[in-house]
Symmetry: C2
Subunit: 317 residues, 2 copies
């Protein structure tokens, strides 16, 4: 059993690689829900959706979010009505938000909605929200406190970040099955997602970080950082806001208490060689995921690092 902690965009690429090489029943994904937000009166869970869509094989490869080939006629209508339109919801995608909202209004938990929607889309891997309670990533900026989607999508992460908090985290509990998925896994993989706002909220749920420390499985992360920049998105400035250097050293520090191995880009191999002081082992390869072959190769690398005894898994070059 392989358990993955992930956010949406970069994480979805990594999960896309994993789903192509693992039997679906052997894969459990614990997903960030700190970006969940109310949109047009509907409950939207962007990272759960991206992961569910990629596992179902319907994630838009061009956009990296939403459904392949979707249209945006409802969004256009809302825009013409003068309603908020900065968060792009496709027409087919809307069915997911409607169904989740209906299920929640009937008293279903967020975990149950994730399971039901995944099953209806033919997904046989397990998709778990990090928590059934509402935990909201809040970004303090000079223009005020923003939700993650306001910061990331509406304002295109242009605002300097003063700090980040996870509202509701201290009162939250891990979703049913999440702790066991970590403690009983054969391997735990941390996707190359934004450490602060994709993996950070998961780690903020009480019990999750302890489970990562305690699991007998190897915990292996793929770096979202190359040199001193993020492969994509605002990870670097968010890391700086947490007094972390936006490098593999900062990343290794952030994950140090539970991480066994960090897969970094070839160009960071020398930096990695000079580190290796805090108990984290480094492996370098080409971690950029441009093609399906890249995704499969990185997924294979991560599995090979986490399960070195597993003869079925081939270590990438």
């Amino acid at each position: 059993m392989i358990t993955v902690l992930t956010g949406g965009t970069g994480g979805a690429k990594f999960v896309d690689g994993l789903r192509r090489i693992l039997p679906p029943e052997e894969l459990t994904i614990i997903v960030n829900t700190g970006d969940d937000h109310d949109w047009w009166g509907l409950y939207v869970s962007p990272d759960i959706d991206s992961i569910t869509y990629v596992l179902a094989g319907i994630l838009s490869p061009e956009r990296g979010w939403g459904v392949r080939g979707d249209t945006f006629h409802c969004l256009q209508g809302m825009k013409e009505f003068g309603e908020p339109s900065w968060f792009s919801v496709g027409d087919r995608d809307l069915a997911t938000h409607l169904l989740r909202t209906i299920l929640l209004s009937r008293g279903r938990t967020l975990s149950e909605t994730a399971r039901i929607i995944a099953e209806k889309l033919g997904v046989r891997s397990r998709v778990l929200p990090m928590s059934d309670q509402r935990v909201q990533t809040r970004i303090q900026t000079p223009v005020g406190e923003l939700s993650f989607e306001e910061y990331f999508v509406k304002r295109r992460y242009q605002d300097p970040v003063k700090s980040v908090r996870f509202a509701g985290a201290s009162e939250s509990k891990p979703a049913p099955g999440a702790l066991e998925a970590i403690t009983k896994a054969d391997a735990v993989l941390i996707a190359p997602s934004n450490p602060i706002t994709s993996i950070g909220p998961i780690l903020a749920v009480p019990g999750i970080r302890d489970a990562l420390r305690e699991t007998a499985a190897k915990v292996v992360a793929v770096s979202p950082i190359i040199g001193n920049a993020a492969v994509s998105g605002p990870a670097a400035s968010l890391m700086a806001s947490q007094n972390l250097s936006a490098t593999i050293a900062g990343l290794a520090d952030y994950y140090a208490d539970f991480l066994d191995m960090l897969i970094v880009h070839d160009s960071d191999a020398e930096t990695a060689h000079a580190l290796s002081s805090n108990g984290v082992e480094f492996v370098s390869t080409d971690i950029l995921m441009r093609t399906t072959e890249d995704k499969v190769r990185i997924a294979n690398s991560a599995l090979a690092c986490a399960l070195p005894e597993n003869a079925d898994v081939q270590v990438a070059s």
Copy 2:
């Protein structure tokens, strides 16, 4: 000022004729809301939507409901999710339902939502729901009591009708402005809508029928019945359920207490000539609305009957 009482489909054709010949500010439409229903957690008001869309010039001419050129990708998604899909909601149309639901959840009345949505679509005529309170048309059939949409759309009006009731009507009040729109009108027109389930719910709102009796304006209806059948839909069997003959005689009886004139089809001219006992005057013409020209001609006929002194309005042949 011209005030029209109407349902959706047939009524929308009549309103389409009127909007092409009247200044928009002179037109007030009081619309049936007995068909309103919850769909995917959203508040849907089918007749308000059809009337608003036709006034905005965006009603689908092929379907007679929904938005011209709309797509149905969300509906397809909901169908694949195994959710109810018998009520066709288009993607652009969905924006209307989302906006109305958002506005209602913020405490707006149904009248306010109708006004706001109409304004946003550029409609300058006044669209009034019959009431801000929920009045639900309920159809008793051998398979049980059905909502109007269940009876009409889901089961395609195949069930014998035992009786019809308007749940909530006795506690409802006319929407703000509705009574004045009738009592102060220069003419009141009853659209060729189903008398029982489109006009009937409006008449069931306490005060409306009295206002129609008391107004100094002429009240003129266009018949939805030709011979002993409805031009479209289940009007005939619904009239029979109310012990009315499904003819212009039954229609004149149903509206007798307030109707001044009934415009019937040429083929009913002889029948009309033999009636004219209950104070209702009859006029015959070709009342079928197949083309825009037909709609304009019928609208002109109705106005000429209601405002015979108005030189601007031409009586149709």
